[in-house]
Symmetry: C2
Subunit: 130 residues, 2 copies
DNA sequence: CCGTATCCGAATTGATACTG
DNA sequence: CAGTATCAATTCGGATACGG
């Protein structure tokens, strides 16, 4: 549970900012990465199709996030030099292994979102009704 | 896998920004939340002890993140009206359930960080050596 | 079609100073 | 000890315009 790169975030102290989990969260914690991975789940997709599938993403952020994922070796970008050019994105094998941890997180979210929302409302009520 | 609140991020389209997973990632995706949850893993801790344990966190961010976790019902704050005052933080039962998904993420990180770093270096070399 | 470049406002974070 | 308040720096994200 402890590597040469850094210590566990969940156990051990002090908790270093450059531990593996923090580095990965810096990647998947942003607004779009998880959405893109999800959109590529079923297979390859073109740039414009991703743009259509992911509600609200701008062209800039789609490009930027895809570049980051490509740099990390999680997404593969293939250019077909046709006219007009066609670009397809797919998850790499490493990218597909993200499925399990992401699913665990999703299941936790679905199971606890109600409690969290209720707790938030209770907390906010307590603050305003002084 | 699909709730009344929103659709799965991993499957289904379009991928909505207000799905459960996105809401939870908005919480744990920030720079400090996971570190704090990790620091509270072994049991209760005082404010200043957390500050010492979490490398590089500022007083402001520790307070702010703890407030957020408290609002979400994941952390419990207890004030002991001694002199000087003592404040202890613990994970709630809901907070402790975060263990499994966080562990899954940590294990993925540890298993793949090497590959990711190598991929990054290769990618960066390819860009600069034009 | 698939981007890149630039500008700008909004949100995050940190440093610092001060309070019960 | 355990915060709150304020300000400045940085980063993020979106809109727009343009290029291969």
């Amino acid at each position: 549970m402890v590597t040469a790169q850094g210590e566990s975030v969940l156990r051990g102290s002090p908790y270093r900012a450059d531990c593996p989990t923090r580095r990965i969260l810096d990647r998947i914690g942003d607004r779009w990465t998880v959405l893109i991975v999800g959109a590529l789940w079923d297979g390859a997709a073109r740039f414009s199709e991703l743009r259509r599938r992911i509600d609200g993403i701008s062209q800039k952020m789609l490009t930027q996030t895809l570049r980051g994922l490509e740099r990390d070796g999680l997404v593969c970008r293939t250019v077909y030099p046709e006219v007009p050019v066609r670009v397809e994105y797919t998850l790499t094998e490493a990218g597909r292994t993200l499925r399990d941890p992401l699913r665990a997180l999703e299941e936790w979210s679905i199971a606890h979102l109600g409690d969290v929302s209720a707790s938030q409302e209770a907390y906010d009520r307590g603050s305003t009704s002084s």
